[in-house]
């Protein structure tokens, strides 16, 4: 699995400033260290889905999502994959360690870990895609609680359905924050049509002034 330097820089709010050798080395050191301490693990399951109004119902589970955006996302899907992935608690510990003793490194480690969990999700998505294609399906992009009108409170139920606590150590606290921190839950639609994956994930978000926003197809770092 690859942690992309450019992605790391994007999470650090990089806008083409000059980077000296020491900082460059620090970034590579952090990428290596995250790769070393992360224990990537994931679970997913495939469910038939039913749509009623703005509701998306996952059969054989107690999951009902009330979200227009999600329903639209799964417009053409009659099944979906439900996934959870995490880098494990050691990554939190290491970031916590540095943010107490070497804050600069803590910040860079945090960005590396964010890039890493996204890369893990890309891998899981690829695996789901291969499986889906064998069954004559194509996939949509990932859709996670917190996007659009899909509340992050759903994270709790997703984790329960996937038994993600026992299987990969993933929990949510009372305020629906996932711990370990570098974790993702998501839904991926399975449908019979063309593959429907948005390359520029930022384009569908309303936060136009986000410091992490990629700028269209152009070189993202020139904006």
């Amino acid at each position: 699995m690859n942690i992309d330097r450019m992605e790391v820089l994007r999470y650090l709010g990089y806008k083409n400033q000059s980077i000296d050798e020491a900082m460059e080395n620090l970034i590579y050191e952090c990428i290596a260290e995250i790769r070393e301490v992360m224990k990537k693990s994931f679970v997913y399951n495939i469910y038939d889905i039913e749509k009623q109004g703005d509701k998306v119902i996952l059969k054989d589970t107690n999951l009902i999502f009330e979200s227009r955006y999600l329903r639209d996302h799964l417009q053409n899907s009659d099944r979906c994959a439900l996934m959870a992935a995490t880098l494990g608690i050691e990554v939190d510990k290491r970031i916590g360690y540095y943010s107490r003793l070497n804050l600069t490194k803590g910040i860079v480690m945090d960005a590396c870990a964010t890039a890493a969990i996204e890369a893990v999700c890309d891998e899981v998505q690829e695996e789901i895609k291969e499986m889906a294609q064998k069954a004559g399906y194509n996939i949509t992009d990932r859709y996670s609680p917190g996007y659009g009108d899909l509340s992050i409170t759903h994270q709790k139920a997703i984790i329960e359905v996937l038994k993600a606590h026992i299987r990969i150590g993933l929990t949510v606290n009372k305020n629906y924050i996932m711990i370990p921190r570098k974790s993702v839950t998501a839904l991926i639609g399975l449908h019979r049509g063309e593959e429907n994956v948005v390359v520029d994930k930022c384009s569908r978000c309303k936060e136009k002034n986000c410091m992490y926003r990629k700028c269209g197809d152009a070189n993202e770092l020139e904006c």
Binding site: Q17, M23, I46, T61, L101, K174, I177, I179, P180
Partner: protein, 794 residues
């Protein structure tokens, strides 16, 4: 111990509950505990099926019956657990009912939100109900976090008299999800007064085998194994398990032959698996394994075994004679204390002594805080050091591991107060060879006291392997004649009693010049007499070198690996050659050379006063860096690197002021309390604000993350802070921020509030009642400068 359950025979436990419930139509994600109330007949049927299959013990359907998993539901815990025990009791008849306690589903502090104390309360609630409903034993199972297990065991022991069984679940890398290995698990758990321990879930029996052997190698109490029916596999839409009952039973027999006493099944197992297991055990006699006792201390992820290679106990976290540490303890400056812990670890300490004894502070509360902070950052076993029993107990109670208690001595009173704590929490202890009459002059008399303590300890059920004897070092300047009695005593104690030994080595040189020479010479002599674990300063190269050399010469460091590792490139390393002129200080800060800055500031201090350096170098450099950041000429990590450089410069200035008894007044532009609000665990943004505010000379009281509003109010009042900074990163925790602000308005009406965090903006911040919205850490400095201008409150 007298329990109503006979653990000397094989006991067969039941298999999975969830797997069976799914077969009865339970949907994924549903709370299985609901069935205890709504469909008790289904649960009873499953129990009966396992009894019919030959199970000696059935497990109540209460795995997730705790206040965290069952909260917002209309299912009162008492009813759910009470009914579960009742159903099981009915089905079990003369068989045994185990009250099932699963993990709470929350991660523990400091990485999660669950405190040790809250975990204890949640388990206590379950156990009280379950025990009074008539369970025969308690099984704490499928645990990943040994800290959570410790909370559960304490809750079980303090609120019931039932026998306790514990299992943890391991990953393929041989550790639990939170990093505990089998030896560490055994070393912590078997000393906590439980009946059996072992492994369950996660893996199938085949993958579990090597871990089971590891547990059997160390466990002196019965071992339980409850594997899954192999690893889960996806077939179409369904999860299936690959091991059939016959194979499962064959593995079970193999485990039983190796010494496992209690067997059952976890995910994917059915009554057929249990039936096959039961018949596979027919005619087999429980194996008896001889277990050699070891002397070992543990953190949650690492175990240090004494004997053989010399182990260093770091002594630096002890305020005696250390002004800067004293100040840190009084101010609650945890970062300084953590730095001491980390530096010792990086310099070869295997364990850390923790002593926070100061008359100015609440020693008990500070001990708890410091222990929790250190174990969140450093994975070394701890030695809890205090003269007050209540401080020791509070420290070892929250310790995540198996600590050493420092210390007990030969006085009856000391033994009577400390030994019960050692026993209850399953600790190791340091035994000082002194009594009512003080330290005996002769080695023989010290041996006698060691014998007395060992004898007394055995009456409490503490074996001599859990005792580390300290023959006490006297200072050569005052009691020169007796210095070598200590060496003699170490040799005697080692020969006659065969126990492990420790010594606080550096006492020997007190009051004499060039202490390092005496210390290392004495250390070498003590090591050759049989000293196993010196308490010393690992930062002193002389001492470290002596230990390393000794480990080579005594054949502990095989093939001199560690030694070669440590010294091979000692000559090729460039000497740190900082010879910059003071003019460069600004540039050093802008370039973020955070190590180099210390030497440069030390040089400057020969010429200038601390405050002059702050005003003429640090602040102007910071302003330059800040402007560059705002203009986008540098990005975040570069800004922070400069801030850390300034922080290091400040630290040097602070130490200088302390040594020269404050020729300058302390630098403080005003007090600010900062915190990430309750429920939120993001703290990087807050940490960035903290370092910048400190850089500009504000005294920042950082309460950390997930902080209750009461705590914030208490601190604001205590330090009379005119300004509070609050951080929240999630939409779900902004509400918590709003509540905090409301409470502050009520209790501290004069206090100004600034708020920041990813989800906030100007409007939102106003809406929830903050005085200022700060978009980043630089902004918080501007607000602080404005609010605290002229309102110096010290």
């Amino acid at each position: 111990m007298s329990w109503n359950v006979d653990f000397s025979k094989f006991l067969v436990f039941d298999g999975a509950m969830g797997t069976m419930l799914q077969a009865y139509g339970m949907k994924a994600g549903e709370l299985s505990e609901r069935y205890n109330i709504e469909k008790p007949e289904v649960i009873e049927k499953i129990h009966k099926a396992y009894i019919g299959a030959g199970a000696d013990v059935i497990t109540t359907n209460t795995f997730g019956a705790n206040r965290y998993k069952l909260n917002d539901k209309d299912l009162p815990l008492e009813d759910v657990i009470g009914s579960a025990v009742e159903i099981a009791r009915k089905a079990a008849k003369d068989k045994l009912v185990a009250l099932d306690i699963g993990p709470l589903g929350q991660l523990m502090e400091p990485y999660g939100s669950l405190s040790f104390e809250a975990a204890y309360e949640a388990f206590k609630e379950q156990i009280t109900v379950g025990a009074s409903a008539g369970a025969d034993l308690i099984i704490i199972e499928t645990m990943s976090d040994i800290y959570e297990v410790r909370a559960a065991i304490l809750a079980a022991r303090e609120n019931s008299s039932l026998p306790i069984i514990c299992t943890m679940t391991f990953q393929e890398d041989g550790r639990t999800l939170t990093g505990t290995d089998p030896l560490t698990m055994v070393n912590i758990l078997q000393n906590l007064g439980i009946a059996a321990l072992g492994i369950n879930c996660s893996l199938g029996p085949k993958e579990m085998m090597p871990l089971v052997y590891e547990v059997l190698k160390y466990s002196r109490i019965p071992v339980i194994v409850q594997p899954n029916a192999g690893l889960p596999k996806m077939v179409g839409n369904e999860t299936v398990f690959e091991i059939n009952p016959e194979k499962f039973a064959a593995y079970g027999r193999q485990m039983a032959e190796s010494g496992v006493r209690l067997l059952g099944g976890c995910c994917g197992t059915t009554p057929e698996h249990i039936k096959a297991l039961k018949s596979a055990l027919a005619g087999l006699k429980p194996a008896k394994n001889e277990i050699k006792r070891i002397t070992a201390a543990s953190s949650s992820t690492c175990t240090v075994v004494l004997g053989g290679e010399v182990k260093i106990i770091g002594e630096r976290i002890n305020p005696t004679g250390k002004k800067r540490l004293k100040q840190a303890l009084i101010e609650g400056d945890m970062d300084y204390i953590l730095r001491e812990a980390v530096d010792q670890k990086d310099n070869g300490a295997h364990m850390l002594d923790v002593n926070v004894g100061l008359p100015e502070i609440d020693e008990k509360a500070v001990m708890v805080k410091v222990v929790k902070e250190i174990q969140g950052i450093v994975n070394l076993p701890l030695q809890i050091d205090s003269v007050r029993p209540e401080v020791i107990e509070a420290g070892v109670r929250v310790c995540n591991g198996r600590p050493i208690i420092n210390s007990v001595n030969g006085e009856d009173k000391a033994m009577e107060s400390i030994l019960p704590i050692v026993k209850k929490y399953g600790c190791l202890m340091v035994a000082l060879t002194l009594d009512e009459k003080g330290i005996p002059e002769t080695a023989e008399d010290r041996l006698k006291i060691a014998e007395k303590i060992i004898k007394k300890a055995s009456e409490y059920g503490i074996p001599k392997e859990d005792i580390i004897v300290d023959c006490l070092v006297l200072t050569a300047s005052a009691q020169q004649r007796e210095v070598k009695e200590t060496i003699k005593a170490v040799r005697l104690v080692k020969e006659k009693l065969g126990v492990m030994t420790t010594l606080g080595v550096s006492n020997v040189s007190f009051g004499l010049p060039a202490r390092g020479i005496l210390n290392r010479t004495f250390l070498a002599a003590a090591l050759s007499a049989g000293l196993d674990a010196p308490i010393m300063n690992p930062m002193e190269a002389d001492m470290r070198d002596t230990v390393r050399a000794f480990n080579v010469l005594w054949n502990h460091d095989r093939d001199s690996k560690d030694y070669i590792n440590a010294y091979t490139d000692i000559k090729t390393k460039p000497q740190s050659n900082v010879n910059r002129s003071s003019k460069d200080l600004k540039k050093i800060i802008i370039d973020g050379m955070k190590e180099e800055v210390k030497e440069v500031v030390k040089e400057l201090l020969k010429e200038f006063r601390g405050l002059e350096i702050v005003d003429n170098y640090l602040i102007p450099a910071l302003d330059t860096v800040g402007e560059k950041y705002e203009k986008g000429e540098i990005f975040l990590p570069q800004l922070i690197l400069s801030a850390e450089t300034v922080k290091n410069a400040f630290e040097v200035i602070k130490e200088d002021m302390m040594e020269n008894s404050s020729q300058d007044k302390a630098i403080n532009k005003g007090n600010i309390v900062i915190a990430t609000v309750k429920g939120d665990i993001h703290d990087i943004g807050k940490n960035i604000a903290k370092i910048l505010l400190e850089n500009y000379g504000f005294r920042v009281y950082d309460l950390g993350k997930d902080v209750a509003k009461e705590k914030i109010i208490e601190k604001v009042k205590e330090v009379k802070a005119p300004l509070v900074g609050l951080s929240a990163l999630m939409t779900t925790t902004v509400q918590s921020m709003e509540e905090t602000i409301k409470a502050l308005r009520l209790h501290c009406p004069d206090c100004v509030v600034m708020a920041g965090g990813a989800v906030l903006n100007e409007n939102y911040a106003n809406m929830i009642g903050a005085d200022f919205y700060v978009k980043d850490a630089r902004d918080s400095v501007k607000v602080a400068e404005m609010v605290l201008k002229g309102s110096k409150n010290n």
